[in-house]
Symmetry: C2
Subunit: 187 residues, 2 copies
DNA sequence: CTTCTTTCTTGACTAAAGTCAAGGGTTGCT
DNA sequence: AGCAACCCTTGACTTTAGTCAAGAAAGAAG
């Protein structure tokens, strides 16, 4: 599984043999069973994750109702830095998960030994940021129906892995509305 | 104006005299008049901006209509890295602007001379990311009315600087709806 | 001050999402 | 097999946003 990470990193920057060894020995790779919570509301997040296998759901609880705001699947990073304040959200493993886990100590240690890794981190972060800003813009501009169609196109796998009521929430609507949108489109 | 940037950076990390000199001499600070476009759709973005004074609006054009998706004001960064593909959005100065402008060459030059600056960049980027993810989540979970009330609280200055129809768009609704929401709340 | 333009509000109507309640389907458990 | 839990859909009704059109209000320009 370390292979996956190294392959991913080498898409962006040269990975020296020393760095590769360090990554393999860092013990970043972890496994979690379906149903496990990587994080619960009230806790302070100190770890961040990079999903290698499986699907993780981020959700809040608003008025006793779960509100799903993100799904993280293969090759996606879960931004996990809170600024010392407790989180208000949950990270739930919807499937058995394999992930690379980072924490501040490990990171600063690795960044010091391998500055290129910090550079990589910054570049990846900027690119994620750009993607996220785009997504947010598109979400604002689109109707619920358009959002549904876009998701069908961009992440069809989600519809095989995740219940529709969580997808509805992710689209910012109620399950009944999603059901009617689907019916409307079917005709 | 360079003072502002240095002050901002030193909130996060030590700024050595050498770094301070380098920043002051880098010529990053620029001014733009109200009405100027920092970026237009179709162009490829290579610069990124940090607003020191004024308000910049980001908008798309969808079905011949302008759709505002962000306002950037004092001490906010405008993420500007596109991956070689032309942008689909505009960056318009709603007021006279003073901004720090970065470009890849200057950045990699500075990062090489002052690695701490790249570290700062990564940390700031991560924190922006976290903020942005939170905002997106809240947007998804809130009704238009709740979004309006939240914006009133979090960025009251916008209502003094920006026409309501652009704010409506920013909230993901039509100007008529915003008008009715305001009326509803007034009572 | 007058004119022109842009912005904001209102009204009447349509379309779509929210709410509440019920029923069918599936899955998983014992 | 039978029960329970969860998920998805439907129906009837309410609420709210979208649309189109018109007019009032506020700003900018001559």
């Amino acid at each position: 599984m370390e292979d996956e990470i190294i392959k991913y990193i080498s898409n962006y920057t040269e990975v020296s043999p020393e760095l590769e060894t360090a990554i393999r020995q860092s013990g970043m790779i972890r496994q979690y069973p379906k149903g496990h919570f990587l994080l619960e509301a009230g806790q302070i997040s100190i770890e961040c994750f990079f999903v290698l296998k499986g699907c993780v759901r981020r959700f809040y609880i608003k008025d006793t109702e779960e509100r799903t705001t993100d799904f993280y699947t293969e090759m996606q990073a879960i931004p996990g830095i809170s600024k010392g304040t407790p989180n208000e959200y949950y990270l739930e493993c919807l499937e058995d998960i394999i992930a690379a886990v980072g924490n501040p100590e490990l990171e600063s240690d690795m960044f010091q030994k391998f500055p290129i890794l910090e550079s990589f981190s910054r570049v990846i972060g900027e690119s994620m940021m750009t993607t996220y800003v785009e997504e947010f813009s598109e979400f604002k501009m689109a109707s619920p129906e358009e959002r549904y169609l876009k998701l069908l196109e961009s992440r069809p796998d989600l519809f095989q892995r995740v219940p529709l009521n969580q997808i509805a929430s992710y689209l910012g609507i109620k399950p009944e509305s999603l059901s009617r949108i689907r019916k409307r489109i079917m005709k």
